[in-house]
Symmetry: D2
Subunit: 280 residues, 4 copies
């Protein structure tokens, strides 16, 4: 099982949590913690074997510990895979990559569905066989209705996590709030370098020597959500905007896949407008 | 010798330049070129042996070729080392690094002098023995006079290149113009990410996962000059602002040293607000 | 068109080549050269527009220049795409990646066929629709016949380039010789680090902190062919061999795709047991 | 204080250690652990405030816990800085770098001395003022006596950690054994890539596209000791062996400095022929 928690720091948190697990014959396989000395906030992630234990009792008992320490916490059986909805637009390299990684067992999730604002035939290069596909076109005029339909779909499919795989549509403040901490976007620039539209063209115009991509939680504040993962690649004056787009595809898909994997393994904890990421 | 040139692109430039050198028994050791198809501008750098040739005649003859093709060009004997003035402020890691690299022969230059807005005793950790040291303190009120003294010094010492080695002072628009294309600054962030003051604190507050440094030409427009070189390093939520500053020192000094070496070897050509860098 | 050449260095090569092109109204778009001062060998790659020119005449005329300078050379119209055969075994991440990149137009080639030593149903995660698939199983006993069939297929399909996309079979010395300079393998280690079998397990056992992958030309000498491209990723003590395999997949596919792209654009020239790679 | 420990894994280790600290009013500032599922060995590093506690009593009490769990452990007050002896040979870039980092407070250590097999005047580019310098020349014939003198010096100066800063001499098996787990070497290759002499020349001859350096513990088995840290840089066919040596200097000094800092902060635990490095 995976336990994550955050709370105001005080003496004895680790002692209490580890004693709690020890007393219930749980074996800690991995534990990471972080004490943010700036904010006085404490973060912890524990992976443990609880073979002998009654999971519901465990949860009920831990609630008491958590309450005493004012914790925000999650406790999940790793066998209960998250249900993920992937949203895509015209470019399908992130969609194709996530689906392939899922197929070979690299991403432990259920795909609740694929939503696109283009029709299915746009994705001829991606094998979506067996995946529920939803075409939800959107215009300025229909954005409100489209988001309502999307939200309905998220609820109907019991979606836990939403991934904007180069979705290119800005979610409204309302929907962003509904999905706080469980909607990941890939921005095709090294934030906060080039916010907004056409970042590779911006990067080319500015003449930077390194480009990157950023996976972040979606918030109402566009391109300002907490960053989960970033990566970069070196470029030169010889690279045209088209070369940057090509090189960028590689960065985008690996950054997004890493961020999603972290999320699927409960490795990402929110810390204000930042994240704590307990990487492996 | 090293020839650099840029001019509007047209057919036959390479043919003309290489024929010119061949006819004068010069042997090309290295040549790189770049054709900016966006702006129609052509850039070239040629390193050649001109042992038998009269350098002055070569220069005079090339002027004719250059004029016909509307070239901006430089032709320099590699034995004529550039004279470099290093400007430093409180932090001396870039200064110490450049001086050490110069001592072991890694940077082919003459050091025309070291200028600091702090007194010599500030630099106890750097061995400046034998180097002309100038203490030019500066306040808001005396900035005008200080820059005048600095400019006088640059002229008196026949300084070719000015390096702001974490100088922390913004040069005025007037002095920036005087030093256009020959004054290199190291900005301690991955531009254009965090312009202005305290970029590592900004990076920490934003929660980025990668930090960097940027060497660029100084222009009147602060932190907006053409970028010569950038590099990055991965960080995590565990890094405090102090850790970023420490990790940043390593990035800054290697980025600045690379940019300066490129400049000393005539590898950097201006292309509007960008650079063409013919790296090795 | 793309011209590549290598020959013993002497004065005037660039002048002769560029004059040759200028006289035939060809416009140089890009040119890179390299003078290996150790071996006295000169290498060059020129991309040029030859719209007005007769390609056959161009070729015939250049033969004279090339002969006089003892050149090895190639001259190719970029519109004549190379025909590529991809060989795969059990792991299909490199195969899937190359096919996807080809579909979205990132790799300018024709796929002459896919050859595997496992049956088609092994590749359920890769959409091979429309691609000629050949199942050529192999055992120790049938290796000779299998390679003969493979070679026949290569000839029948007019294959220019063979890619071992984690093919996991060692080609015989004889077949390697037939494919010299046009058969690319991806080795899943940072060569010459961990040659031979199970390199990620070797890397894990040795406790290295960085892993990598290497794309190289196949020669009779296993894992010793000229290296075209390498890349790496940082790991830690927390990574199990399975984690290394997962992280390795990302490195392998991007290294192989880069190497193949270089090959498709005539950017790789052989220099003894090394390569000259004129990257963009 | 910093506590490190390793022991056979079993249930309740974290619970016992954290309860131990909690009961003594110690506040955990940072804790990292690692459970090597391959070997069944458990590793932990805890940083804690023990302001109110009697350090000697703490140590005595912990001995009981440690014994019960068959721990190898260390407990150190961060104020008790390690005493470090730096060994250098002809190349002084690592020596210069370590001394500078120490001067600006980046490396929390006492320098017990600098030992060189060349006379003091060799190090004109490094400011060794105030540091005990020992010239211990060595030849094949005098190696035994030189090592005896070195070992005497290590004991006399109460040296904790020995750093081979490009020392270029192979320590004997006997001396290596005396310094097990506290002698760090920087090897100027990406191990296990190019062991032995002149690795940059080997790398150049092999035509690799990335070079690196490795900091490792010294053992009797040359270049085979447990690796602490590695880093790399991209190179190209244009780089001569001299360029590799220059680029390598940058990698070497930052890899060695990182490894030493980890050692000074008790972040490195031995795990057979590998290391567990609890990085920040």
């Amino acid at each position: 099982m995976i336990l994550t928690l955050s709370c105001p720091d005080q003496r004895g948190i680790v002692a209490k949590v580890s004693a709690f697990l020890f007393e219930r014959a749980c074996n800690i396989l991995d534990a990471q913690q972080f004490d943010d000395q700036e904010t006085g906030q404490f973060f912890m992630r524990v992976v443990f074997d609880a073979d002998g234990a009654d999971h519901d009792a465990l949860r009920a008992d831990f609630r008491v510990v958590a309450q005493a320490l004012s914790m925000k916490w999650t406790l999940r059986d790793r066998k209960d895979r998250y249900r993920v909805m992937i949203l895509a637009s015209k470019f399908d390299h992130c969609l194709a990559d996530l689906v392939y990684r899922w197929k070979i067992g690299e991403l432990p999730m259920e795909i609740a569905g694929v939503v696109a604002n283009h029709p299915a035939e746009t994705y001829a290069n991606v094998d979506l066989t067996g995946l529920p596909f939803h075409h939800l076109p959107v215009t300025k005029e229909t954005k409100f209705e489209q988001e309502a339909a999307l939200w309905q779909l998220i609820q109907d499919t019991r979606t836990d996590i939403v991934v904007l795989a180069r979705y290119m549509q800005v979610l409204s403040e309302g929907l962003s709030a509904k999905l706080a901490g469980r909607c990941i976007n890939i921005h095709h620039s090294f934030l906060p370098g080039f916010k907004g539209a056409k970042p590779y063209h911006q990067a080319h115009a500015r003449g930077v020597k390194v480009i990157g991509a950023s996976a972040h939680y979606v918030t109402g504040d566009l391109d300002e959500g907490p960053i989960i993962e970033q990566d970069v690649e070196r470029i030169s004056h010889r690279d045209t905007p088209e070369d940057l787009i090509r090189k960028g595809r590689d960065i985008e898909r690996r950054v997004l896949a890493r961020a999603l994997r972290y999320q699927l393994e409960d490795r990402v904890l929110l810390n204000g407008r930042k994240t704590v990421v307990f990487t492996d």
